[in-house]
């Protein structure tokens, strides 16, 4: 019995009362959870999608060369390959990423959280790079986000919303050159910014020195979202005091349903 079979035999959690969409096993979307050595938020994702949406994510190991038939892919957080070389750099060159790149090139939706975001930039599926936090510290705290507007499903469904969820990273400082930043802004690709309590993207609200307070961006076609904050860790008021992450996960589902 492999690791994933053992996992699937875990007793099911009690149903959540704040589930917004639920699916039967036959009608559920097929979402691949790409697992790398060092991924450590995969289980949080499994739990969040199962508990709140009735979706069982399909784990795909990094050494696979093909994806099963999927509606979307999810790259979880963690420290893939020990963050050697650069965060996400080795994972971006793992065998499964060839298939993931093809999937995205054909318009497939993808969500990358934290290390997943770093992997998406290193794979050139999203522009820019994620660098060492300006403070040199690993930062683990709740932050406030303001969703940007834009043509993506995230912009359409979340624009102007304030969302509270945790960040936990040492290398989350988003960097892109001036031209690239202007392109992101002009095309409505800035999905989330760190904001203060008044809703302003102030220097005080910027946790890591990221450009333009950027916490997450979408691809030009709006189908790929990468963000440093962890929506999957903000899905239950009993854990962390916020369930705002559900709104992002719901938008992700809306991008292909």
């Amino acid at each position: 019995m492999n690791f994933w079979q053992i996992r699937s035999q875990r007793p099911s959690k009690s149903e959540s009362c704040n589930a917004m969409k639920r699916f039967t096993s036959t009608g559920a979307p097929r979402i691949g959870l790409i697992d790398f050595p060092g991924s450590n938020c995969d289980r949080d994702c499994l739990d969040a999608f199962s508990r709140h949406f009735g979706i069982k994510l399909q784990a795909v190991w990094h050494s696979e060369r093909t994806l099963p038939k999927l509606d979307a892919v999810l790259l979880p957080g963690g420290f893939s390959y020990g963050d050697y070389l650069r965060s996400g750099a080795l994972a971006a060159h793992s065998p499964i990423m060839v298939a993931v790149k093809n999937f995205v090139a054909n318009g497939g939706p993808a969500l990358g959280i934290c290390n997943g975001f770093q992997i998406l930039t290193e794979s050139h599926l999203l522009p820019g790079a994620l660098l060492r936090n300006q403070s040199r510290k690993f930062i683990c705290k709740q932050v406030d986000l303001l969703a940007g507007s834009g043509g993506s499903v995230y912009g359409r469904s979340l624009a102007g919303r304030r969302l509270r969820m945790p960040i936990a990273h040492g290398e989350g400082r988003y960097f892109i050159d001036d031209d690239g930043l202007r392109r992101l802004q002009d095309h409505g690709q800035v999905a989330f910014r760190y904001v203060d309590q008044s809703g302003a993207a102030s220097a005080e609200a910027n946790p890591n020195g990221t450009r333009d307070n950027i916490a997450g961006i979408v691809s030009e076609n709006g189908r790929v979202l990468g963000l440093m904050p962890h929506p999957e860790r903000a899905t239950d008021l009993l854990v962390g005091g916020s369930a705002d992450g559900l709104a992002i996960l719901e938008s992700f589902l809306s991008s292909f349903m």
Binding site: A89, L131, N133, S135, D177
Partner: protein
């Protein structure tokens, strides 16, 4: 394929560093500390990563191979630059 130390293997050095316009918090910390402990004469610090590649250079392609490795893998063109030289 040549392995380390085998005939035909030549060593190439790849140095990868952040672009000048990209803040390097590690370098800044080092410089601030140098200033604090009395080395005010040090005006700037850059931190780089140095890779030594032993590559098959029998057909004279070693430099271009090292260059390709640096460009496509060891350096991120978004934030870093690199230099390659034969040792």
């Amino acid at each position: 394929m040549a392995s380390v130390g085998s005939p035909g293997g030549s060593e190439f050095e790849v140095v990868v560093r952040l672009k000048p316009e990209v803040l390097d918090p590690e370098a800044r910390a080092i410089q601030e500390t140098l200033t604090r402990i009395g080395y005010e004469g040090v005006k700037a610090v850059q931190v780089s990563k140095r890779y030594i590649l032993t590559v098959d250079d029998q057909s004279g392609q070693g430099a271009s191979l090292a260059e390709a490795v640096a460009r496509e893998f060891l350096a991120n063109p978004v934030s870093e630059t690199f230099q390659v030289r034969k040792l």
